[in-house]
Symmetry: C2
Subunit: 241 residues, 2 copies
DNA sequence: ATGGTTCCCTAATGGCAGTAAGGAAGCCTC
DNA sequence: GAGGCTTCCTTACTGCCATTAGGGAACCAT
């Protein structure tokens, strides 16, 4: 007798779900975001359009699921890069994670761009898979910095030096994300995050092509500026020791 | 006899063009980017859909024209703010321009977000009105920094210290934009630009709402970090002297 | 076997971009 | 001022889209 696993029906369903998302991604890559339609995905699979409604409540949900996939894949890539460095070398781990993020972004421009400017940029419920996966992704960096903070605290603004409004907002955020750092350290982290992620955002949305054709050295310089803010040494973190 | 101005026909046509763009903007603000369709705009004006094709070659061109309008309006607002400060106080002028940019961005979130994630983020010809207006906008900041450089050069990396690839890319850019600064100074400018504009980009695309609800103080802090890079004093530039 | 569940289909609605063809109105020249 | 050209706008149409409704077939548990 077979092990009491998921039923055959369940397995087929999961396979279909996976195929739908794979086809959606293929269409995105090959023909752009606008080509990711319920009908086109179904057609590509040899199904009728309405059949897909047994798997996704509508176009928005499909878009959200695909976006969540991208976040999960990106998270895995970044975690793998991070874990290719020893657990105590936080500088190297962070740099590896950041570079892996950009590496994925430029080798998967369609996917990364989709994350920022997906068809439904607006109405997002905070409990959607998309948002959960997005927070998980960001959490990878946050936790690595928290580890760093625990092992070797970096310089932060003195309590009270922070703008009161920022301090209050970050208190809420730190509570909700359950990270164990003072808000001042969270602020330093987010400042770095905004610069890195913002640079990628602009790169991928073609907002910098008027001046740059290759932003790799700009990104690297951004890292070089970021690393000392976390009390780390760029050369040390870059060299293989 | 009337002055030899544009013919009546021309005037009517210009008025219709203006109304189309105004209605498109109204739809964007009231119902989001997806509501800006040829048909909806025409309906709102009491016209049939196909009639709009006498004014715009297609949906993409309409989108581009509206985007160009936004850039032009933003440019005017930023220029006005800049010119409200004396011509020789470059620090105050720059700060005023930056704050005006964010002010417009948050009071016109729909429009500013549209600039980044308009329906046709992809294929953009460099001679489209959208691109021209976009470069004019960015030029406002570039030129103010160039003035500053002429009046009181700020510290820049030594020649050769810059990554060769960046130097080469910026040489091309500096030539094409006809600005009279060494590439090292252009690099400092673009570094600042990327931070400011990137922050706004992320804010407006809702990429930071997981942590922040009000980014005004974050933006202000960004300015505070930026200003010394241009050899200016934040307090001096902020105070009214 | 049977009854419910799941899956998928066709049909249909209404909206979209864009094309085609024709009518009316303005304008310009002879 | 009469024809003729241009411009503007219309309706009709194609083919796409999202989504809903309803029905048939396969599957599964009892």
């Amino acid at each position: 007798m077979a092990a009491q696993g998921p039923s055959r029906r369940d397995r087929v369903r999961q396979a279909t779900l996976a195929e739908i998302r794979a086809v959606a991604r293929k269409l995105l890559i090959e023909q752009g975001p606008a080509a990711v339609t319920i009908n086109a995905v179904a057609r590509e699979m040899g199904m009728s359009g309405p059949a897909l409604y047994h798997y996704f409540a509508g176009h928005d949900e499909l878009v959200g699921a695909v976006t969540a996939d991208f976040f999960r894949e990106l998270t895995a890539v970044v975690e793998a890069a991070r874990d290719s460095c020893p657990p105590d070398e936080h500088g190297r781990r962070l740099l590896a994670a950041c570079r892996a993020m950009r590496g994925w972004a430029i080798t998967h421009q369609a996917e990364f761009g989709w994350v920022f400017a997906s068809p439904n940029t607006a109405e997002r419920r905070p409990d959607s898979p998309r948002e959960l996966a997005g927070r998980d992704f960001e959490q990878v960096f946050l936790e690595e910095v928290a580890e760093l903070w625990k092992a070797r605290p970096f310089p932060v603004p003195a309590p009270g030096e922070l703008h009161p409004s920022i301090a209050e907002q970050l208190r809420v955020y730190a509570d909700s994300s359950g990270v164990d750092m003072p808000v001042e350290a969270v602020h330093v982290f987010l400042t770095c995050w905004i610069r890195l992620y913002g640079l990628l955002c602009m790169e991928v949305l073609n907002q910098l092509s008027f001046a740059y054709s290759d932003l790799e050295p700009v990104f690297e310089e951004c890292l070089r500026e970021m690393i000392p803010k976390l009390g780390l040494d760029y050369d040390e973190a870059t060299s293989s020791r």
